[in-house]
């Protein structure tokens, strides 16, 4: 019951945060002077294409771009009725992409799921790599295992993601015949899900997952190692050792469990960085996630598309953080239900 109450509380704080984020996103998107349509209208006027101007003017009124900013915001979110009644983010209408000349929802469609998929895979990868390596580095601390793991970790932190992506792509293709570019074979694009399509996606995901996960895994490994070392120096470990508990059992029984909490809590720090990384890597590798759309939309001031992608990315991290907070409460009863610092 307590947990349920906490879950509800946490859900509402997330909604509140999302609301603040929507204001932030809207302000940032409207920072650059001018907007896509006025640029277009000016250009069409200059080249004397009257019918284009009429369409652009129509879109301007249709999407309430001729109104004051605060009204635009309310309409965009769906708090206040626009020219066609309530149709904002809340109602599931994400707006119109002027550059692609299609509704935003239609453009991003598949990309949303692929984005979630790529990030989930990267999170899984981080845990799969960081957990054994971190524990190993702590158990064999100050031996070559520890130093190697530490060095590889540092290197992972220091190499720019996008370069790692390019290099791994090249060598992956050269030596392991991994496919280059995209998230699936072009043959399967727009096709219904099938076993072959899944296989193609999985094969394409190897390099991106590795690239996005590396820096996160490095950071997490270091933290896990530090936590484990703290635990290992405690008297109860010595007692267990003196009583003759096997090393592997000794490690897994208590220290690992204790060191595990921050591991789960850390996902809140991890996720924003990973989503950032996935946007960058997607642009470089041409993955069909929302990263390339964001870049294109920002460059051409396609405001609804850019704002939606930013909102989605924020939502993704907020949900991830919320889940990790709840998991943490389930895992560690010592944490008070009041929420962090509240």
């Amino acid at each position: 019951m307590m947990f349920l109450r906490y879950a509800v509380y946490r859900f509402f704080t997330m909604l509140l945060t999302l609301w603040v984020v929507s204001i932030l996103v809207f302000v940032i998107i409207n920072l650059p002077p001018g907007d896509y349509l006025s640029n277009q209208i000016a250009e069409l006027r200059a080249t004397g294409q009257a019918e284009g101007v009429a369409k652009a003017e129509f879109l301007r009124t249709e999407y309430a771009l001729d109104r004051p900013l605060w009204e635009q915001y309310l309409i965009w979110v769906g708090f206040s009725p626009g020219p066609n009644g309530f149709s904002g983010l809340i109602q599931g209408d994400f707006g119109w992409s002027f550059e692609f000349d299609r509704p935003v929802g239609e453009i991003v469609g598949d990309a949303l799921w692929l984005t979630v998929l790529v990030n989930l895979a990267a999170v899984l990868f981080v845990y799969l790599i960081a957990l054994p390596l971190g524990v190993l580095a702590a158990a064999k601390s100050e031996t070559w295992v520890d130093y190697t793991a530490g060095f590889v970790g540092y290197l992972g932190l220091a190499t720019p993601n996008f370069l790692l992506a390019l290099i791994l792509f090249y060598y992956g293709h050269k030596y392991f015949n991994l496919p280059i570019g995209g998230l699936m074979d072009p043959v399967y694009e727009g096709q219904p899900m099938s076993w072959l399509k899944v296989k193609s996606i999985l094969l394409h995901m190897i390099v991106p997952t590795f690239v996005i996960g590396t820096s996160g895994a490095a950071a997490m490994m270091q933290r896990l190692r530090a936590n484990m070392l703290d635990e290992l120096s405690k008297p109860y470990v010595e007692t267990a050792k003196a009583k003759g508990l096997a090393p592997a059992k000794l490690l897994a029984k208590y220290p690992l469990r204790m060191a595990f909490n921050p591991f789960v809590a850390d996902i809140g720090n991890l996720l924003p960085a990973m989503v950032s990384g996935s946007v960058l890597v997607s642009v470089v590798l041409g993955l069909q996630t929302i990263g390339p759309y964001l870049l294109a939309a920002l460059k051409s001031q396609d405001q609804f598309l850019a704002a939606f992608v930013l909102m989605f990315v924020a939502l993704l991290t907020l949900i991830g953080t919320m889940i990790s907070d709840m998991l943490l409460v389930l895992l560690d009863p010592r944490i008070r239900y009041g929420g962090r610092g509240a």
């Binding site: 945060t17 603040v20 984020v21 932030l24 996103v25 940032i28 998107i29 920072l31 650059p32 002077p33 540092y154 290197l155 932190l157 220091a158 190499t159 720019p160 993601n161 996008f162 370069l163 390019l166 290099i167 792509f169 090249y170 280059i180 809140g268 720090n269 996720l271 924003p272 960085a273 989503v275 950032s276 990384g277 946007v279 960058l280 642009v283 470089v284 964001l294 870049l295 920002l298 460059k299 001031q301 850019a306 992608v309 930013l310 990315v313 924020a314 991290t317 907020l318 953080t321 610092g341």
Partner: protein
Amino acid sequence: MTIQPDNRFVDTEPWIDDADISAPERAEMDAPGWLLTWRKFRRHKLALISGVFLLMCYLMLPIAGFIAPYTPNERSADYLYAPPQSINLWHEGSFVGPYVYPVTAKADLVNFRWTYTTDEIRPMPLEFFCEGDDYNLFGVIPSDTHLVCAPDGATLFLWGSDRLGRDVFSRILYGAQLSLTVGIIGITVSFLLGITFGAMAGYFGGKTDWIINRAIEILRSLPELPLWLALSAAVPSNWGPVAVFFIISIILGILDWPGLARAVRSKFLSLREEEYVKAAEMMGARPARVIRRHLLPNFMSHLIASATLSIPAMILGETALSFLGLGLRAPAVSWGVMLNDAQNLASIEIYWWTAIPMLPIIVVVLAFNFLGDGLRASLDPYKS
């Protein structure tokens, strides 16, 4: 001092009753904090080496033009995508001094690329302290003396040349001027914001604390890169390179402060209750004075260590932004701008030297990480 028959030592000096018995250890105990820190820091060899390396890098920045054989946008139109050349000392068993072989370009019309042949018969000694293109020493003193130049009729592309025939090595040196200072400016902005907000939240508590805390939480839960992208996309494209550079560094700093503010806040929450703070307040010190004179010096060193650890993120951030074409733009030269050229697989496969700028990035980021770790470990000198 005399030795007694039973081998005991006895000091013949008269016993001074009021002498300080801790006098021999006094110097050690009264050693200033920085000395203790330095002694401890000295033992972290990796951090020490990183620190010296970074110091040299930053000292090099104002004289980059002198060290670089070329200027960043100097084009050698006959040498597009020229591969790296090596400097040799010995030619056919005899000592010539540092020299290069001249290379000639030939168009390969089958693969549509330039192929370069090295003429290994004519060694051409390098010139030192020679005249080259104009540049500004320390940014103000016009000069045209370079440490080393290519001999007449040959080129000196230590790390090859790029798409437009510009020397990659020289461009890396010039690129360091922007890439390395971005982190410093960014961290200054982040430091000011972080300390101000963190101190306000921790010192005043209550509503201020609540608002700042929520802001921190919101900013920390958002992915940085998309926000950086959005903010940089808002920079008008008609601004000059210098203005863009400053605004980009400020953008990097604006999104970095929450982590620092959080650390400052939690420290302030505990320090606020200390007696010396109460005393200062009772003597009528204003909040600003209490914060600056009594609270901040307590953990300034700790803050500097964490700042050192966040500089790499900014250097990588600048690189990523420029790489995506939303950060610094040519004609400005930064490592990210250079990597923008190496964006495709062809560069990695055929012209691998265009990706060399990644090396300084990795080395500098590693150095900052090691230095920061070393600083953090040595800042508590009394801990073993």
